[in-house]
Amino acid sequence: MYCNQPPEKPGNKKELLEKITNMARANSLWVTAYGTGCGAIELRPLHTSRFDMERFGIAMRPTPRQADVLIISGYLATKTLKRVIRVYEQMQDPKYIVALGSCTINGGMYFDSYNTLNVLDKYLPVDVYVMGCMPRPEAIIDGFSLLMQKIKDGRAQGWKHYKENLDYYRENQKKIITDWDLPDYNW
């Protein structure tokens, strides 16, 4: 019913073609419509005529299968983490994570909560952090331009890192998700 094969380790690609493709990837970021915390409210203005995310080629996709970017918008409860892992693993390579707000960096104001994780990077490979509580749309756009730059430079390799160190991430994930019932591999 579910996948039972570990992911294949990605290899290196041809130089020039990869560069062109990276330009295309940077200019066509499709975002999974998945709001995890309070920060999701700051994403809405991005669509409006004032900030207009689409001019950077950023669009929302309602299904993870077609998306490139997953935005973790603010604090992440352990219960939500389970769903986020599944959504992330269902996205197709290459894929990127943008984390918003202090909460994803060090727990923020929920640092001592019993159900909110503190450092997101231990569980999922974050490509760009946008700090603030909450970051304003300008800051998010700034974060996106940073991500685009990273992609163009070929440095946004979080998905590769995740695949290569899957055991490490799984261990961390299983440590806090006590009732782990996800399939071990779900792509």
């Binding site: 219960k79 389970k82 640092f111 909560s113 019993y114 159900n115 503190n118 440590k175 806090i176």
Partner: protein, 187 residues
């Protein structure tokens, strides 16, 4: 209207303590043994037929859980709060599911958060908010939240205090707003 309720309750339960009273609001505290009688009476003969909430306060100083049932009378627009204390050790409170099926959700939440058992609730013990929680129930005051967070979510990054003036000054160059200038002058 609420006077009548109060009078009726006082006749029936002489040991009742008045906590607070307003023109449409009455909070009474009854003995543990007569709590259920009072609730049933409020529902059947006093017209407070809607269960709005069941709340719990962990009064660890008195070694009790204070249960409060909030009952409302929609036609008379009055609210009746009935409280009772239950000992913390192996706390057992009768379930109200037979009277209000909706009480099930409240009771499951209280069971999860405080570990209070409600015998008679058909869905007792099902996951409500927390998935696979194994520790002390998190809302009890003897639950060490910070210790738990440290243990599970890892060491928190040391937080350094930044003087906003100094910090923003670094970015902006100077403390350069009208208000700031005024304050500067005052100094």
């Amino acid at each position: 209207m609420i006077d009548k309720v109060k009078k009726e309750l006082e006749i029936r339960f002489p040991l009742l303590k008045l906590v607070r009273e307003q023109h449409n609001y009455l909070h009474v505290k009854v003995e543990r043994v007569s709590a259920m009688d009072a609730i049933v009476m409020a529902r059947t003969s006093l017209g407070h037929s809607v269960l709005q909430l069941i709340s719990t306060v962990d009064r660890i100083e008195d070694d009790v859980f204070q249960m409060t049932w909030i009952l409302e009378n929609y036609s008379a627009c009055t609210v009746l709060l009935i409280s009772a204390d239950y000992p913390r050790e192996n706390c057992i409170v009768p379930s109200l599911c037979q009277i209000w099926p909706a009480a099930s959700a409240f009771e499951r939440e209280i069971f999860e958060m405080f570990g209070i058992s409600f015998p008679g609730n058909p869905r007792e013990g099902e996951d409500f908010l927390l998935e696979g929680w194994k520790d002390t129930p998190p809302m009890r005051r003897d639950f060490e939240t910070e210790e738990y967070a440290m243990r599970v979510y890892g060491e928190r990054q040391p937080r350094e205090h930044l003087d906003p003036r100094q910090y923003i000054g670094d970015i902006v160059g100077e403390w350069n707003t009208p208000m700031g200038r005024k304050r500067e002058e005052e100094k």
